[in-house]
């Protein structure tokens, strides 16, 4: 049992890791074909995995409806929407103008846009909390933020032609330097983490880890 739960997955991770590392340096058409084929297999398997997700979703929400737990109405709406949309797609197809696409264009898209638009208010609230001159660093942050924000709106240039220049300088120099510093460390972490996974040193994602 340990072989199938631990050793076999580690062997697959090792072989796949080594093969695809080598593939990156081999331009031969057979190597490219292997990569394309693997990507196709991954997409197919990922598509099948939606069945897992659906069963989890239905199991949980059907249970809530059955037990009439508080908020079971939301679960009923979810199950009804899931089943109705799926049936619309199966019966009427997914061409342009079909009911399925109508539901997508007129219900899902506006709802997603609404959620996205709430970000504007959350950003204002987060900025209000963050930009307070309590310490030296916070003051520097506040002043930099003011310049960068004004540089991105027309009124900044109206106030002074130097504001956009300072704002862009802050964005393109100290900000970029900090981002690149983080990226440098990140890239090495990627290498180290990938090595740990390929060689089976990091096994927590299999469950347990020991």
């Amino acid at each position: 049992m340990v072989f199938w739960k631990r050793t076999f997955p580690l062997a697959i991770a090792f072989c796949a890791g080594v093969i695809f590392t080598i593939q990156y340096y081999v331009p031969h058409p057979k190597s490219e074909a292997m990569l394309t084929q693997s990507n196709n297999w991954i997409m197919i398997i990922s598509a099948f995995s939606i069945v897992l997700g659906l069963s989890s979703l239905l199991h949980i929400h059907a249970g809530r409806i059955k037990r009439s737990t508080p908020g079971w109405g939301f679960s009923a709406v979810l199950v009804f929407s899931l089943v109705t949309t799926a049936l619309l797609g199966f019966i009427f197809g997914r061409e342009k103008g079909s009911p399925f696409i109508w539901v997508y264009d007129n219900m899902l898209t506006p709802l997603s846009s609404t959620m996205f638009s709430i970000l504007a208010f959350f950003i204002a609230s987060a900025a209000y909390k963050a930009f307070r001159a309590r310490t030296l660093e916070a003051t520097i942050l506040l002043i930099s933020a003011v310049f960068v924000m004004l540089a991105n709106v027309p009124i900044g240039k109206l106030i002074s032609e130097y504001i956009p220049k300072i704002g862009n300088w802050i964005y393109e120099n100290p900000n970029m330097a900090a981002q690149r510093g983080i990226l440098l460390g990140l890239s090495l972490s990627f290498v180290a983490t990938s090595l740990k996974i390929i060689f089976g040193i990091e096994r927590a994602y299999l469950g347990g880890g020991e």
Partner: protein, 573 residues
Amino acid sequence: MKIKFFLMLFQICILLISCAPQLPHERQEKLILPSKFKAIDAPNDDGSAVMLVWSVSPSENIKDKVIENEIKEKTRKALKKETTENTKDALIEEISKRVRKEVETSYKSHPEVKYVISMSKTKDGEFAKTAEIKSNSSYASENPKYFGHSNNNLMLHFLEITKPFKELKEKEAELTKIIVDSNTLIETIQFAINGNQENLLSFIKEKEEKYKVLSLQLREAKGKEKEQLQKKCEAFRTDMNRYQQISEFAKRQNNSAGEEKITELKEKVLKTREEREEIRQQLNNEDDLTYYFKLEMTDGKETLIYPEIVSAYPIPNYFNWARFNHFVLMLLFSIIVMFFIGYAKRNPNLFIRKINGLDAVDEAVGRATEMGKPIFYFTGLGTMGELPTIASTNILGRVARKIAQHDSQIKVPCTDPIVMSVCQEVVKEAYTAVGRPDAFREENVFFVSNEQFSFTAAADGMMIREKPATNFFLGYFFAESLLLTETGAGTGAIQIAGTDALHQLPFFITTCDYTLIGEELYAASAYLSHEPVLMGSLKGQDAGKLFLLVLVVIGVILSSIGVDYLMRLLEPL
């Protein structure tokens, strides 16, 4: 002594830079053929290309860059001579334009010299023109991927010729267009038959609007762009007429006529697909061919032909030497990391700096236990194939163990079914490892939605209703990060976040109590477990970082004095 040594090094560098071969500045009037012309297999590729290389001829047009440099220099001298501090911008611009016109006229008075490449599949067969190149372009120095960074590359031209060749590719594209157009027509007729006149009309209106935009662009375009836009406009006009006809046709005729038309079009699509497959087969059969090339040089009045016909046979390569520097660095870092892992096994007490966010995990779990509230753990929007998600599931195992020990409750809403399966296993194993398999509930690790904002809405709703004591946001997040963390902050939860998404870090830092920045997310697993092997890998990363820092400092110093050899050595190709 040291100062003398560095001064000498500096002088050698300047000497080396000035010894670089320069392009001929004085152009020979008489046409002279290049001294060398050869065809070779393109290196580091999948066998789909050959390369032609030939030397620079003294008769060539002067390179545009050389002309620009001369314009700059002459403009600078003219402005110095003719202007003062108080001179107006308009006059400065006039002088610049005058100088530019003078220099360009002097160079462009010479007829333009071009190279013409012709190709054949047999030595004695008919040669068809493949490419026409201006003599002041296409230098080998512009392609270090194939030729390296030698200064001699300034004296070589190069052209890459890929197979499949132009005519076959054009034919394939033409057939693909016929297939796409036919499928569009089938769709259009189906709209009409289904009675979706409204959709058909809005579809036609869309096309009309695109045509209007193209017409406006055509009015303003010039030269080659105008020709291309004209062709596009003509194609659009033909399409528009066709759609109008279909619309009229659908109104007048009955459904069966429409169905017949669809059947006819479907047959056409099938035939065209077969034809396209044949062409693709022909392209694949180009595998076993040697290609022959001729070089001609012309200035419009006279044409010279290189005496020798050259040939090349494209071969797929087994190693991409352009990525050799990348390969060496990868091996080097891997060896460093493995070395430190071995070192850590022998010396387990390695120092690692304090990471406040990870020290707070115990406190956060304890708080949830005292309050009797659940802990929410978000793994982000990534799939299981992405490193941040793998790192997140590694941390989940450690966190789930602490939660199981404290007899608290964890909930893991997931956006990906595979991630959900992995998280279920991880949490289950964590509970089993501390002897509490009965406390694990599978419905606590569940799939929500793989749509970004659907998941966010569901997660926000859960946080508002259940008011968790602690939220973990560890993984790769996009725009939903602020929506989640602001909502969590509003419910009064302790929030610990960690991501390598640079654009989301500011949002996490402002709204969460603790944030793991970038590589701290990957260090978390080692930090929480204190396993020597994992700590060793962190040390290896740090050693690699030190090596890179030293390289950066040396590279900056060398580049500042004009020696970019180190930069070229590490350049991605």
